[in-house]
Symmetry: D3
Subunit: 281 residues, 6 copies
């Protein structure tokens, strides 16, 4: 059972169709007969890492169930321009009605997978993971984080309820790193590690003494990161965040950090160019 | 009554909070007392055209209503880095809980407004409009199209039910441009104009003869666009689409087209960098 | 893909069943065995224009999917009393459970189609369209407007977001017809025509000068309508509204107006009499 | 706590606004400033029994909460044309945006109340009740049945789960009236009476012997009804249904039946004519 | 059509899956291949009266529809430990994903059925019914009341809208039992009996005189109940409530009351122990 | 911001009211005037640990907002019988309408808190935590897990997406404990510890070697648990589960396990007895 079988994804697909169709596809109703059959092919116009292929069948099912879908590639595959992603067959009216919703979703998710794959490739050979953040768009988090995995990345926590990440304000409110970590360990579910955001070496030292299991090194220079990793010496998992880009990610990875978290994977990945070609029959 | 008073926006805000909070903000619950008050300030770290400011109060209301929000700027304003967008005051727990959802929405909408404003600036002095498309993300269309307006752009149709846009497949299915336009005019609500997508001058001529009120000139070169505009000579509204970018939009505008539609305004605008600073009291 | 494949129609059907069934059909549970099979026939007891036939299969699917439905006529057909509309076969328990919801919807939609057809017949030979309004019942607009089309009528705008209709209050607020039309044209999506409601000839003249593309002639007498149509002379589409009834609609049509909008098509059409006969087996 | 405080009514109001507003009131946004204040008055143009007045405040709250509403009359009151129903004050934009939804609901509910009151008046002095049926429109049952009460009528069962009404098919399936009534009494919640639909005197006799507490006399002539009432002699509550109209309801009432159920109260009541007058300030 | 075909049950199943799965079953995704097939068997580890078997197929359908379910027993059957309840076959990933939701529901409903059956057995041979109350858990009432029936019990009213039960506060507010009963009879739908809660014999007498059709004898001792039943002498249905337990229910039944209502059937029934065994293939 | 401010809790409250009220409280409408004011007091009839007090105000708000609520105690407090939990003031109609929903929720949550507190008291002085499981009821998990915390317990994972718990079937599918742990560590978010369910000492040894961070000791005897804890010697967190009851939990705790998980906290806690007394004014 994958993410596409979740009831929430079904709800999202139905909402997307409702949003785009409103009372129905007016142009198509007026110009295309309900009896006209058609085939369609989806393919990229640029090199992409594809994500979201199983959504096509879900969208067609939600649009009345008269279209058959044959996926041609698996999510996470790197495709050259023109590669066939999926073929569809059914009433031309329905294929026209679902085109935009289908492409909107696939272009966005494949955009995330493609950008993630570029970050992953940039750190090839290093031991670190590229991970996402909670900087996602409303309603799309589960699919966006799936697309990160399709691109070879990993997920950070999903929500505010499934991870302990003690930041500056928590530290201030709790009265210091030591107190904050103690409070977190005293109350957190036993399956969660405690992560502490640090911006100085003193904070790193205190966090380690307090028992932090993950140290988030925020907005440090490459040199600072290298020194922090050294200092931590494997006593905690290390995560770098802030200002990560394709042109500095390899240098950051080479500092030895375990995790590099990249907000732009989900908040700023440009859509890739996918196309649906229709063949009326 | 603006877009932020729509019940659907309230639903979106609640869904966004539910998605990020799950069972609640675990780290904050364990490290911050419910009694701790705080203030917060939201401001950009780069120059932006802001959009979504009224959402802040809606998010705080949906999170229990204990936070007061004072907007400092109006949507559509161009802000320098560091300008105060809004101040918030209330329980530190709530401010921490709503931070990510608030920033995710504002960064995305302001990203769209900022990108739109760049396109609008690029065609300054030309008579054309920069308009959006249906290439939006599920659940976000109303807000994304609002953000385009905040950036100085205009909206194309909202859905498949509120505009007539006859494309290639409709033409084939209907048996030609003339037949398609006739069918559309015979059935379309009387308040809608008929738009026809054309890729050749012959199609343009036939569409005009058939009574098309808007001609969509798809993927034409600047030279072709100029000739098409000339040929149409004001007999129909002209719209250019396909391959529009910041570095070619002015040349396209100078062909005299009325409308330039840009998919990337909504599908690929990078998030802008906004920040929420918390002051514990 | 027609209106019955919209996710919103599926939601409506499920809500209708939930509303009528509550915790289930008590009488049927106590008196009819789950194993008893049955057939059912739906037919009108009076002459009707039928609308909503595809809903029968949707309702049965939403009620557990054990009933097969065979439609016998297409929506928009004029039926004599006793004509078979559809046959159903499945568990008697389910047929009894869905009877009322099915008839309630079909009787209402067919009532609208039948009344619309009477208005359409009344203006036979005239060039005008009979159109609906936004005077619909909550949750039913898409289906009610569909039923108007099934009866041979046309649709006015669907919502407040897909048409420009400048009324008296807009004119006052904007500072006159000229200013209101200018503001509308400056901001409206390019695919929408601008319509202005006028009650005097002076207003008609100003609206035309301002560039109105549709003139709504509100609550005028037949004589006034004829003079207005003359005066406009084809420079704008003309629409008559207010006080339209079966006994005056032909006279109004003969004034030469293009559009006659009739609120009662949707707000006051009486239900037609449909019946479901069950055959236990 | 009345029907208007039910969460379901709040949901209905929000759905009605969403359906009519879509992405917002375009004409108003373009022609009316958000700062323009206004007052509005709602009043009937014909004599009505009003129903739904508390909805006005609910609608305004759901539309952002910036409009104050002052009801002037209570539901169930008979109003002469021109009587003030309610006054509203707030932003002109919001008043324009909620006008249609408000009137649509009030016109429909007052239509039901007004028609019910005519039936109630027609049987004045008789001991019988005028009651509604399950012939309602999807999503509106609770409000429609409320409107029947506002007009002086009474409610039949709300759903299939809160009443026992044994009809012809239940009788056939159970193997006769005696068996059907026995099965119903054996399983029905102890607070529900058993009602049996009869079309002949033999059925009436068997139903009484079987212990039916209510006899539904379906589609009988006035003479048959009178004889049936006589025969039953107070041993069961009597209900007449089928073919009830304003011109025969008094004769039916005079047969002595206890209950007269009228489907058209909810499925065919024409909307009454209400008007909202706006005063820009 | 049974309770499991209600749209509301489908909604509940989807919500239950969403609540347990969140973004998906992480452990299973990481350790089990999507291609691994499996079979599963559900059986009790203790003697139970089973309830909820049809839910298994509904849950599997809502989880993507790749699992086939073969029920082995009918709801309401008494099962010895180890009896096969149902077999399932499909992807191991899906079977693992639905296990907990399935067992949670079946264990709870079977717990209610099992406890109800113990109460029913305790009054074997007496004429009284064991009935439930409105003391149920949010969202589960329809299924909980179904489980009571599966255990041999009966249902009291479902909601506040489908029964008349006049309690102490209603009596005070109405100005006495006589007034309260009169008001209820004057307004209640004709299919509902009027029930009055009494705690003294004087109240019983007044309720009978006022025309109460059911007398709820609240928190009376066995001796008092016996005297009350005697006094009422069949003039009304009698219901005992308050402090009913397995060790006193038979004595209460032997007083001759018609109905014994037991809150703990739904608010305190312990879950029974069911198990799902998986066989990887 | 606590759990009661979550939009999902608001949805639950509204659904609970809708489920109990249906079309409204019929008895109250007929016997109590809308103008009658009242006060109410909620208090327990037995010793309880209270949970859910903030829900009372949320329920009253969702029922129209005319009732003021004054909580008298905080959640998690141990109360003697008769202690005042909260006072309410408002229309008698509303207080009667919300009574059952309010008590149902508070009785259930306080039942969980009370049972949890008994388990916590039973292990007083031991270092172990009492934790809950995923054996919860649909729609109620967040509140049930909150109630466990109110009773002094701790939470296990919330859903299948926020914890790694490798059970028998995962081990089989992955090809052994070592492979399963490796797969989990390779893919799991870095903030989650890997937990492995073991039933033999050999499995414990393999899990430790594989790097398991938590060992779930399932259905072991007290002696086996003691030996397992010894053997693990602090190299992993230890959790005991299966067959935990009030009469053996202290012996289990004394084996030195860190965590004792108890399904019955949420699936079988009996409701406590709370009462709402109404004072009409």
């Amino acid at each position: 059972m994958d993410v596409f079988d979740l009831p929430a994804v079904d709800d999202l697909v139905r909402a997307a169709l409702a949003e785009d169709l409103g009372a129905g596809d007016l142009t198509t109703r007026l110009t295309v007969s309900p009896q006209t059959p058609a085939r369609a092919e989806i393919s990229p116009k640029e090199a992409v890492v594809i994500a979201g292929v199983p959504l096509i069948a879900k969208i067609c099912a939600a649009a009345g169930g008269r279209v058959s879908v044959t996926p041609q590639v698996a999510d996470g595959t790197r495709l050259e321009p023109g590669t066939l992603v999926a073929t569809l067959a059914g009433p031309a009216q329905t294929l026209l009605a679902i085109e935009r919703v289908t492409l909107n979703l696939l272009q966005h998710l494949s955009g995330i997978a493609t950008l993630t794959a570029r970050f992953v490739a940039a750190v090839a050979g290093c031991k670190c993971r590229i991970v996402d953040t909670r900087k996602t768009l409303p309603g799309l988090r589960v699919l966006q984080k799936y697309a990160v995995r399709a691109g070879g990345g990993f997920n950070h926590r999903l929500r505010l309820d499934d991870g302990i990440l003690i930041k500056n304000n928590h530290i201030t409110a709790a009265g210091g790193i030591t107190a904050a970590v103690a409070a977190a360990r005293a109350g957190a579910p036993h399956g969660l590690k405690v992560e502490v955001e640090c911006t100085t070496f003193e904070e790193v030292d205190e966090a380690l003494r307090a028992g932090a299991e993950i140290i988030l090194l925020d907005n440090m220079s490459v040199a600072q990161l290298a020194e922090a990793v050294q200092r931590i010496g494997g006593r905690a998992v290390t995560e770098a965040s802030g200002g990560i880009a394709l042109d500095n990610v390899r240098a950051i990875a080479q500092t030895g950090v375990d995790i590099i978290s990249v907000g732009k994977l989900t908040h700023s990945a440009p859509a890739v160019d996918l196309h649906m070609t229709l063949f009326l029959q």
